[in-house]
């Protein structure tokens, strides 16, 4: 088990796990509950968890201590973290979805069929990264996959719902981006002043709900 803890620089380890949301969440919870000396931060990703320390470590000794600390952690009954389902309103109209037609063509579907399949699917947040609050979602129907654009855009509006390969996500900030834009949400994915700055976090279930342009413009801030 210790060999799954790979050093990252001199002050961190990456715990490599199977590509499974359940396993990443379980590992994150075990690490959080354990009392690990010198631990600074835990950062989950798709199939790994970053374990950051405040000073350099001996990776092997550290891995052993982590395993021991996780074994020792108090197994008190904690209320299970209920998965949240977040509904994301999306406007799929052409002004908000510059690549929708291209994606539909690529997938051999009409735009309406694409929209229908996209919004009916059930998604889950696998990882938050790229920019603050940017969610990588699993659950994109296979037939909607589309490779990234050959030339990324220099600026993608915040809230853009996008497809990159077999992944889908929502740009949380205006940024350069190479994914295909099929809609936009008026929701704010990241606000550092909010109690929970990132709207979405790992494990959240996500559904998309179509809205029209008027509803988009009038969405409360």
């Amino acid at each position: 088990m210790a060999r799954e803890f790979i050093p990252l620089g001199d002050s961190a380890l990456v715990w490599r796990l199977p590509d499974s949301l359940a396993k990443v969440r379980a590992a994150t919870e075990k690490l959080t509950a354990a009392e690990i000396a010198g631990l600074e931060e835990i950062v989950p990703a798709f199939a790994s968890v970053g374990i950051f320390f405040s000073s350099p470590i001996d990776p092997e000794a550290s891995a052993r201590e982590i395993l021991a600390a996780m074994k020792r952690r108090r197994r008190r009954a904690r209320p299970a973290i209920k998965p949240r389902t977040i509904e994301i309103p999306v406007c799929y109209e052409s002004n908000f979805a510059p690549d929708l037609e291209a994606v539909a063509n690529h997938c051999g579907l009409s735009p309406n069929e694409l929209i229908d399949r996209h919004r009916k699917a059930h998604y889950q947040v696998r990882c938050v990264g790229f920019t603050p609050g940017f969610p990588y979602l699993s659950g994109l129907p296979k037939e909607l996959a589309m490779p990234r654009r050959a030339t990324p855009r220099t600026r993608v509006p915040a809230g853009s719902v996008a497809i990159g390969g077999s992944q889908t996500g929502i740009y949380s900030l205006p940024s350069p981006g190479g994914w295909n834009l099929i809609g936009r949400t008026p929701l704010c994915l990241f606000d550092p002043q909010r109690e929970r700055p990132a709207l979405l976090r790992i494990g959240d279930r996500v559904r998309f709900r179509a809205i029209n342009a008027e509803q988009f413009e009038q969405w409360p801030a």
Binding site: P7, L8, G9, D10, A12, F52, G129, P192, P197
Partner: protein, 322 residues
Amino acid sequence: MASLKVLRAGPLSTIQDLGRRGHRGDGVPLGGALDLHAARVANLLVGNPENSALIEVPLGNASFQFEDERLIAWCGGEFKPQLGPENIPAGRPIRVQSGEELIIGPAGRGCRLWLAISGGIDLPVILGSRSTDLRAAFGGVEGRALRARDEVALGTSASLSTSARISSWSAPVEWSRTSSAHPMLRVVRGAEWEEFTDAGRTAFLNTPFTVSPQCDRMGARLEGVKLEQNQPNERLSEPVAPGTIQVPNDGAPIILLGDCQTIGGYPKIAHVITVDLPFAAQLRPDDVVRFREVSRAEAAALFCARERDLERFRIGLQLRSS
């Protein structure tokens, strides 16, 4: 409350401190001063807590005016800041009079300096830090670089009655002057070290790389021998950190710095050791840099020694001021 007036802002001066911890799971980068050690030292020199906010000035061409009397100190590259006709050396507390202007010309060598002011920069703490997150546009001054005519609020400064104009004592020069004519960054192997070809690994540790123009607070892209993998493949993104040296498919390595993304999908050939991050923070386009491998034990020992020395320095400063 007294403030610092920005007369000239320079290309991308920002307010920074020791960065944000605890939010990388939300994709919020560590950020902060790209040389955390220089920031701590500069703050200690002026009697501030180590994590006080200060100003990071890349490439110079900035000037600031002090409304009231302050102690200042700077650490970083080969700059020649001046108060009037006087050169202001690095690594020493300097007493500035009300109304004086600090002029920072272009750097002779190196890329950045960190300027601490007694009392610290007084701006709201957001997600645990006053650092500027330029990408997400929050923190520091309105989430942006400084501009001419900004007035930056300063905290209350302790009395300076016993301070000399230029203090006769100083921080170790290794801490306050961190640019080098021949930067050599010590590294430990990265997770994907074995996936690079022998030729690639040998080239990485034995040939020079030139810093490309793609060089900013997120990272420095290098040009040189292409580093090839045995079997390039797509991989899932994993956590990365400042110091990580990742290699995209074009074979050109990138040293990640403080504003880097929290996860990355490129193979990681190596990682700059913590005590050498200050030197990575001095790289600018056209600089030539080399890498040298050290053991993890050595990386840890170097860090411990530096922390011990910093603790002694802290104690020494306290004794002087008591």
